[in-house]
């Protein structure tokens, strides 16, 4: 499958390094807007095409591209996503623009393989939605879930910084739509400590009366193992705990809350290991792209 990455910042560049290792995705170009950007310079060094005319280049070359991975910003994606669809290009959206259906691989990887636009939520959403889903699947109802994501300042580029509202809104929506919580909240914090901290994510979930706490803990462990399959640096920083309340959540009073403390160490493909936020996003996008490519290959073989 012929692919292009648009956006030559931290995420686009990290994705490029990963995609060059793929046996089903064929990377044609890394597209940016600044010819001197580190990402484009690196792409040229790797022998890739590295144009700097942004979305325009994608649309001009639509006949040679099957799928794009958009790592620009929510604003840019919103402005162009319809043009990509009209040009017959499948768009995997790594911004929090939230135009297409949201995909969190260990929860709903195969649900939207034919969609023209797929949204990858946010890095924090990729890290925490699986945990919310894991808790929800062993209790009758999850009245309220919350996530706090802290990333190293160095790993948050200008796009992330200007999109912070979109980040929290899109992440919070994913905790409900895909995680299964009835109500939700997402919080993002940047930490400038040196050396940079690893990406940290904490999930809080309101646990109603009568829930099987052992089942909640087991389900969390099983889901961590699922995510680790494609993000090797994803792990529990401490064992999950159930704390005693009561807690007056927006979804009602609950007697307990589950607390899941996660850390994501990056694979170090582009930025160093602290930038697990890049890794979980690009690894999830790769998983979706590869699933789409395999499914199309199968269809073509059967046709």
């Amino acid at each position: 499958m012929r692919c292009a990455i648009i956006g030559s910042g931290n995420i686009g560049t990290d994705l490029m390094v990963k995609m060059l290792r793929s046996d089903v995705l064929d990377l044609v170009a890394l597209v940016g807007i600044d010819p001197e950007s580190e990402g484009l310079v690196r792409a040229r060094g790797l022998g890739l095409e590295a144009p700097h005319t942004g979305p325009e280049w994608i649309l001009e070359n639509a006949s040679n591209i099957d799928m794009i991975f958009d790592a620009t910003s929510a604003y840019v994606h919103v402005r162009h996503y319809q043009e990509y669809a009209e040009a017959g290009i499948t768009a995997i959206d790594l911004t929090p623009a939230a135009r297409g259906p949201k995909v969190i691989p260990p929860v709903n990887l195969y649900d939207h393989l034919d969609a023209p636009n797929i949204n990858m939520v946010t890095c924090g959403g990729q890290a925490t939605t699986p945990m919310v889903f894991a808790i929800r699947r062993v209790i009758d109802e999850l009245p309220y879930a919350e996530m706090v994501s802290t990333v190293a300042s160095k790993s948050a580029g200008p796009g992330t910084r200007q999109n912070i509202d979109e980040f929290t809104k899109t992440t919070s929506t994913a905790l409900r739509e895909i995680g299964g919580a009835l109500r939700s909240k997402a919080i993002m914090v940047l930490n400038p400590a040196e050396p940079p901290i690893m990406m940290r994510n904490t999930v809080f979930a309101g646990i109603p009366e009568g829930a099987d706490h052992g089942a909640v803990i087991d389900s969390v462990h099983e889901m961590v193992a699922e995510v680790t399959k494609y993000v090797p640096g994803y792990r529990l920083k401490n064992p999950p705990v159930i704390e005693e309340g009561p807690f007056h959540t927006p979804g009602g009073i609950v007697p307990h809350r589950a607390v899941v403390l996660l850390e994501v160490e990056g694979a170090g493909d582009y930025l160093p290991a602290y930038a697990g936020n890049l890794d979980i996003m690009t690894a999830a996008a790769m998983r979706v792209g590869e699933a789409i490519a395999r499914s199309r290959k199968e269809k073509d073989a059967n046709a």
Binding site: T150, R161, D165, V189, N191, N238
Partner: protein, 342 residues
């Protein structure tokens, strides 16, 4: 009350920063009484929100007893002269929250970021300005950045359209010299007024506020009876009294402020605002003041020392908003102690 123009503007944050000290349990009656009392005393700006700003009600920071927007609406109704302000931390609150509180009658927005991350405030400062709100860029935990570094961040907020800039000594970790160097650097570099929000962990809040004034700060924060995160804030009534002694015109009625502190705020305080060991450690280790009560609860829950939790948080250089790390540290200490016993 003096009739001449005040030498600095006093912003009272009893209903915002003070909310930390009562675990965000304000109700309508308390809010109305405090707003009316401060307004009568001549306070020009009254800040109200969850302690962690608009949208702060959460597992991580504590749930508000009463929806903050309901309380903000009542504050707007209860005031006659004082402007009502809200604080918002990008990453916790949303630009939508600014639109909501503007509709309710709020006249000022303070957009707060960690002291090295001013560029996450662009969206919010611009939105607040476009709504016609007086907008302040507010840099937290300012002891973690140098005077030059703060200037660099403040210039970003100024470029987004902020009407003035504040820095907060959120850990109460600064000496008077630390405050002077930062205020004078900001005053000489910026085109807009500078303000200081002091905490009392090292018993320096009033002295630091006066020093800030002497270096050219035009806005100063206080809370009634010092009610606030950590060891508490600069007490509004003491700042006003000390200012009088210095011959600095505040425009507020000192005795009326004492009445608010003594008759309205103190009776509702679950604990008096003292500098105990934990409060002092926050200032000494430079840890965000609002971690105080959360770390006390975690220490009780996991049977570990609160002081150890706070020192470890200081070592990790956590910033405001990372309250989840309190549980993380408490669990690690539990494991460490269990291993030590073996």
């Amino acid at each position: 009350m003096s009739t001449s123009a005040p030498d600095f503007r006093l912003i009272d944050s009893t209903l915002r920063d003070g909310s930390h000290a009562i675990s965000h349990q304000y109700d309508s009656k308390e809010v109305i009484a405090i707003v009316k009392g401060l307004d009568r005393a001549g306070v020009q700006v009254i800040e109200i929100a969850h302690g962690d700003g608009l949208g702060g009600s959460s597992f991580n920071y504590g749930f508000s007893k009463v929806d903050e927007k309901g309380l903000i609406a009542q504050a707007c109704e209860a005031t006659t002269n004082a402007k009502i302000a809200c604080l918002l931390l990008p990453g916790i609150g949303l630009t939508d929250d600014l639109r909501d509180v503007h509709e309710l009658g709020v006249g000022m927005a303070r957009i707060a970021t960690h002291c090295t991350e001013a560029d996450i405030s662009e969206q919010h400062i611009k939105t607040a300005k476009s709504l016609g709100l007086e907008t302040i860029g507010f840099m937290m935990l300012a002891h973690m950045n140098s005077p030059e570094g703060l200037v660099e961040e403040a210039l970003k907020m100024q470029s987004y359209g902020a009407d003035s800039i504040y820095f907060a000594d959120s850990a109460g970790a600064m000496t008077t010299e630390d405050v002077r160097r930062r205020v004078s650097a900001l005053v000489s570099a910026l085109d807009i007024p500078v303000g200081v929000h002091a905490h009392n962990n090292l018993s320096m809040a009033v002295a630091n506020s006066i020093a800030a004034y002497e270096e050219g700060a035009q806005n100063l924060d206080g809370t009634s009876a010092g009610l606030g995160a950590g060891a508490g804030n600069c007490p509004t009534e003491i700042l006003a009294a000390v200012s009088d002694k210095y011959g600095i015109t505040t425009g507020v009625d000192v005795l009326a402020l004492m009445d608010v502190a003594e008759e309205i705020v103190r009776p509702m305080m679950p604990r008096q605002q003292v500098i105990d060991r934990a409060g002092l450690i926050l200032g000494y280790a430079g840890v965000y003041g609002s971690f105080l009560l959360h770390s006390q609860r975690a220490a009780e829950r996991y049977n570990v020392s609160q002081a150890e939790i706070l020192l470890e948080l200081g070592r990790r250089r956590v910033v405001g908003g990372q309250e989840d790390m309190i549980i993380d540290v408490a669990l690690e200490l539990t494991q460490k102690h269990a291993e030590a016993k073996k």
